[in-house]
């Protein structure tokens, strides 16, 4: 019996297992399914995945810890992953990270107390031609400057408020897309 995974998630993982000659190969998709459902790779989620995948928990933990896109700690609604690799670093990634950290009052790796933002430093996001770049919940925001980050943070806050239904009459601002378009 799984602890945190729903029957649908278990079924989805089983389906993934069937797609590979070696069922073990389905571990990455399985972890994505688990993370989408739980929000992060908690110990319970890892144990559930290990049980469904018929692997030792330690093997699953190794994979989770290897890939930065699997979160080993609880994360906020918006996970801001700022690239820390060389081209971004040259074009001011540290400044961006410092700015976000100042604005949110957290350090890289931390989550705001309201559970809204998590700030992470990650390896190359493969958009060096528009460095510095950041990924928020699987969407790219490029050519970042502190001002644009401010804009973006405000947008995200407003969107979250909208989602909570506190300002339902205001139009939903576009969050999807590049920052230039905002």
């Amino acid at each position: 019996m799984t602890r945190v995974l729903s029957d649908e998630a278990v079924a989805a993982i089983q389906a993934e297992r069937g797609r590979y000659p070696d069922p073990r190969s389905a571990l990455l998709p399985a972890l994505h399914i688990a993370q989408n459902e739980v929000g992060w790779c908690s110990a319970d989620a890892i144990e559930d995945v290990a049980a469904v995948m018929e692997l030792p928990t330690s093997d699953v933990e190794e994979v989770v810890s290897f890939y930065t896109m699997f979160y080993e700690d609880r994360v906020g609604s918006y996970v801001m992953e700022v690239c820390k690799t060389v081209p971004c670093a040259i074009l001011g990634a540290d400044q961006i990270i410092g700015h976000i950290a100042d604005r949110l009052g957290i350090s890289p790796g931390g989550t705001t107390p309201d559970g809204m933002f998590t700030l992470l430093r990650v390896e190359c996001l493969a958009a060096c031609h528009r460095a510095p770049v950041m990924q928020v919940n699987s969407r790219y925001y490029e050519n970042l400057t502190p001002e644009r980050v401010d804009q973006l943070l405000d947008l995200m806050r407003r969107q979250a408020e909208l989602r909570r239904g506190q300002a339902r009459e205001a139009p939903l601002p576009p969050l999807i897309g590049r920052v230039e378009a905002v």
């Binding site: 030792p56 928990t57 093997d59």
Partner: protein, 690 residues
């Protein structure tokens, strides 16, 4: 040249090796030393440390000797300038994050990283940046401390837990420059075999918590010995400081026995040797309390009282119960002392299986005995069968041996037993039954009626038993989970099973005995005989309870406190003499207590569960006046009309080699000729069938 052999030239020297040999092993065989960290013969290649770079002619770049298999005509250079440059580079990289705290590191002095840096390293580092830092040390579990700064990420420990012990406890967390060794959710690393990672670690990252900061390797002298904690007889080195303090046990590879591993019970079970409560002088009971006395007074009293009892009630009213922990020499002299000097046949060992068999059943014992095989036969078995046996509990290193056979040589495992054991997960077929059904199950596997009836749960096990190839059966003849009245039937059914199986396959059996030298106790007749004279009568301890005896000698055995009602029975005896390491419950009731030396304090041999006789040597002096048991018995026997006359343990060995059936003619008469790895005596089973 045979088809399966290939020629290789390493540093100008030609050699011929079997096809598929790893280059590093081929070089080692002809004495060419290629430095390694991650490779280990028992763990297989992984190629992560990059230390074993060599130049192979025809290859564009350097290659790792640990992942390259030898091909015919290969020409290899291990000391060319390119190789030396690579070695210097790899070492410089490995040392980038290494803290160089050798002076406070327990590994310093026996550290492969230290040694190879001296031998192959650059001497200086150009790394001026900040090293990565971790909290140091962290407690990985009850036995191991982990210092992640020192780790060079060779994965040896991770591979040990995933490939050898298969408990998957240690993992590599995170990745790249940030990776480190840990456990899932930082759970403690608890395992029967955790101590092995201390020896596997090529740096000081995994160190023993128990021995932390207590010694430096260069202070220690090694003494080859045999682990005294189970009848497997794993080879060990006892490391001793200043010729008097036992610091640690380490594994000593014997391919025929332990395959190079040692369990934690053996590795950390040495505290009793230097324990302050060891007996240092003989004790004699005066006015109800035990007081120190001289040996001659103690011997005089024992002789007087035993001779008085013998005169009044006959010598057979004197019972002798030995511990199967004693050496071959001690047990042999104990039996001779009782039989030849005292004249008593009332002799047994304790703890022993708590059931007896009759003369009519002797054939069953002979069947099992003739099928006895050696531990390394597990490696070549096609089928391994556990019969109500848990190797992990009784003889832990046997578990590793079985796992290795199952993984590397595609053997199959059948688990016939009452409850799950750690190995059950590896079984191809599992057969569970109620405790009182064991004989029915073992016979049912072979009875024609049961076969035709085709009971469903038998099908899987039977199919495997009907296959081809050698079989090794492991059983626990104390049958701990079986009701006492069914144990004899269980043993007979087991013999029936072996008999049947032998008709079409090679069968070897390995009994999982309880105490280290139990096999020798049986071989030497230190076990109560049944009515036909073969050893397996009613346990003498049970008969003590019925009050048939007037005096008793307990030689290392401590049944009081374990056997219900024995305290009163022993108190009722006229005279009790005990030889012990410390004041045990039994010794507390004795009239005379003699201080014995333990296995680390004397020379001797032990016979393991597969009848391999191995030598242990004297590592430390005995505390106070403590003496070897054989010596005390010989000295004591001088007060009888038929004294024993052994001057040294080697003289006893010669006598054993000359007189004990099965040992005669096979066991050499000197310790030197028995050698560091021991000799097998009276090997039956698979070996005999071939």
């Amino acid at each position: 040249m045979a088809e399966d052999r290939v020629h290789v030239t390493i540093d100008g020297a030609q050699t011929e090796v079997p096809k598929g040999t790893i280059l590093w092993e081929a070089a080692k065989d002809i004495g060419v030393d290629i430095p390694i960290f991650c490779y280990h013969s028992k763990l297989g290649p992984v190629g992560v440390c990059r230390m074993c770079m060599v130049q192979v002619e025809g290859m564009p770049k350097l290659t790792t000797a640990c992942t390259t298999t030898v091909t015919d005509g290969m020409v290899v250079h291990t000391r060319s300038p390119e190789v030396e440059k690579a070695q210097r580079g790899v070492l410089e990289f490995l040392l980038i994050n290494h803290p160089l705290d050798c002076p406070i590191c327990d590994r310093g002095g026996e550290c492969p990283l230290q040694d190879q840096t001296f031998q192959y390293g650059p001497g200086i580092s150009r790394f001026v940046e900040r090293k990565r830092h971790f909290v140091k040390p962290v407690r990985l579990g009850p036995t191991i401390d982990l210092d992640r700064e020192r780790c060079i990420l060779c994965w040896r420990c991770v591979r040990f837990t995933s490939e050898v012990a298969e408990d998957n406890k240690l993992i590599l967390v995170d990745r790249g420059s940030e990776s480190f060794i840990g456990t899932f959710e930082a759970e403690p690393y608890v395992s029967n075999f955790s101590g092995n990672v201390i020896e596997l670690c090529p740096v000081g990252a995994l160190t023993s918590h128990k021995q932390r900061f207590t010694f430096r390797p260069w202070e220690l002298q090694q003494h080859p010995s045999i682990c005294p904690h189970c009848p497997m007889g794993c080879n060990i080195n006892i490391d001793v400081r200043d010729a008097q303090e036992v610091i640690r046990f380490r594994s000593r590879t014997n391919e025929a026995v332990d395959d190079g591993w040692l369990c934690d019970r053996g590795r950390f079970g040495y505290d009793f040797i230097g324990s302050p409560d060891r007996l240092k002088t003989p004790l004699i009971r005066e006015d109800g309390t035990l007081r120190p006395a001289s040996f001659s007074a103690a011997y005089r009293l024992i002789a007087e009282r035993l001779q008085r009892v013998a005169a009044e009630a006959g010598p057979h009213s004197i019972a002798g119960i030995a511990s199967p922990r004693l050496s071959n020499e001690d047990l042999f002299v104990f039996r001779r002392f009782l039989r030849d000097s005292v004249g008593s046949e009332s002799i047994d060992y304790w703890p022993r299986p708590e059931y007896s068999i009759d003369s009519g059943d002797s054939a069953a014992l002979q069947t099992l005995d003739s099928a006895l095989t050696s531990i390394d036969r597990i490696d070549s078995a096609a089928l391994i069968v556990l019969i109500a046996a848990d190797p992990s509990e009784k003889e832990p290193v046997m578990e590793l041996r079985i796992r290795s056979a199952l993984n590397k040589r595609s053997a199959q495992l059948v688990d016939i037993g009452i409850h799950d054991v750690p190995l059950s997960g590896k079984a191809s077929a599992v057969l569970r039954f109620a405790p009182d059904q064991i004989d029915g199950v073992l016979r049912g596997l072979f009875l024609a009626a049961a076969r035709e009836a085709g009971s469903e749960e038998f099908a899987g096990a039977r199919e495997l038993l009907d296959g081809d190839g050698p079989v090794v059966l492991l059983y626990d003849d104390s049958f701990p989970d079986i009701p006492q009245e069914r144990r004899r039937d269980a043993l007979l059914s087991l013999a029936y099973m072996v008999d049947n199986l032998r008709e079409r396959r090679q069968v070897g059996v390995i009994p999982l005995l309880t105490t280290s030298n139990e096999m020798a106790a049986r071989d030497f007749g230190v076990m109560a005989p049944n009515d036909s004279g073969s050893v397996w009568g009613e346990p003498l301890v049970d008969r003590l309870l019925s009050g048939d005896y007037r005096a008793a000698l307990f030689w290392g055995a401590n049944p009081v406190g374990t056997v219900a009602g024995l305290t009163e029975a022993v108190e009722a005896l006229d005279f009790v003499a005990v030889s012990e390491l410390r004041l045990s419950e039994t010794a507390g009731l004795a009239d005379v207590v003699l201080p014995a030396s333990c296995f680390a304090e004397k020379v001797g041999t032990v016979t393991n569960t597969c009848r391999r006789v191995q030598v242990f040597s004297e590592a430390v002096p005995a505390p106070g006046m403590a003496r070897p048991d054989w010596q005390m018995l010989v000295e004591l026997s001088q007060r009888w009309d038929n004294p024993l006359s052994y001057a040294s343990p080697e003289a006893i060995l010669a006598d054993i080699s000359g007189s004990v059936p099965g040992y005669a003619g096979r066991l050499p008469t000197s310790y030197r000729r028995v050698g560091p790895l021991g000799v097998a005596v009276k090997g039956g089973g698979v070996e005999a069938a071939e």
